[in-house]
């Protein structure tokens, strides 16, 4: 069963992204929303981990939440797709089960 992992907290504040990346299986999905989008900045220290993750998982970031935090879309880690809310809905439908890392 392919899980869509949903991470909504900054990796600089909580360990949810690190825990998620440790446990997530290849073929699953990850979407970064709310403060979770801070991880997607390629100048940040989670860029390497997310770049590696995107080779085996479908990694996405919610565009409106990037915009709200002033993170340029040009600065998103390569391999991460930027989606809007409709794209978020599509991901929830595409994967078998959503899992929010609260």
């Amino acid at each position: 069963m392919a899980i869509l992992h949903i991470v909504n907290k900054s990796p600089y504040e909580r360990d949810s992204l690190t825990s998620c990346l440790r446990d997530a299986k290849s073929g699953s999905g990850l979407i970064l929303i709310e403060d979770g989008v801070l991880a997607a900045d390629k100048r940040g220290k989670f860029a390497g981990a997310l770049g590696d993750a995107s080779k085996g998982m479908k990694v996405s970031v919610l565009g409106p939440d990037l915009d709200a935090r002033g993170i340029s879309r040009d600065n998103v880690v390569d391999g991460i797709q930027i989606v809007d809310y409709a794209g978020f809905v599509d991901l929830v439908a595409e994967f078998d089960c959503p899992q929010s890392w609260l």
């Binding site: 709310e34 403060d35 809007d84 809310y85 809905v89 929830v92 959503p98 609260l102």
Partner: protein, 130 residues
């Protein structure tokens, strides 16, 4: 596809209520069905009709109520979480001997079984919270 959405966070606490509302709107626009929205923990605070945010701010409770009116959404507030936080409908207020109720239009108070049933009846259950 049928979705149940769970909201664990109050309005203006962080972003969960906003995200959940945007998610619900996008899902409805794409033709999906929202089987139920279940408000749990501090999420029950989305259902008080007495919130008065500044005029230039978004009004989350009204947003939910308008979605319920327009799309017939089932907005369910967890009874145990609601009683702890003073969210009352007329029947509960009377039963508790209180002098007022504050539940917003479009919301109803019920039990945790409604969340479980939503999970069983829906294809996906998405949780938003803190």
């Amino acid at each position: 596809m049928k979705f149940t959405v769970q909201v664990n966070e109050g309005p203006y606490q962080h972003q969960a209520s906003d995200t959940a509302q945007q998610f619900v709107r996008a899902a409805l626009e794409k033709g999906h069905e929202i089987y139920r929205v279940f408000f749990y923990h501090d999420g029950v605070n989305n259902g008080t009709r007495l919130t008065v945010p500044p005029q230039d701010d978004r009004h989350l409770q009204k947003g939910w109520t308008e979605l319920a009116e327009k799309h017939g959404l089932d907005l369910v507030i967890c009874i145990a979480a609601a009683q702890r936080r003073g969210i009352m409908d007329a029947d509960e207020a009377k039963r508790q001997g209180l002098d007022a109720d504050n539940i917003a239009p479009g919301f109803r108070i019920s039990g945790l079984g409604q969340l479980i049933e939503g999970g069983i009846q829906s294809d996906r259950t998405v949780v938003f919270g803190d």
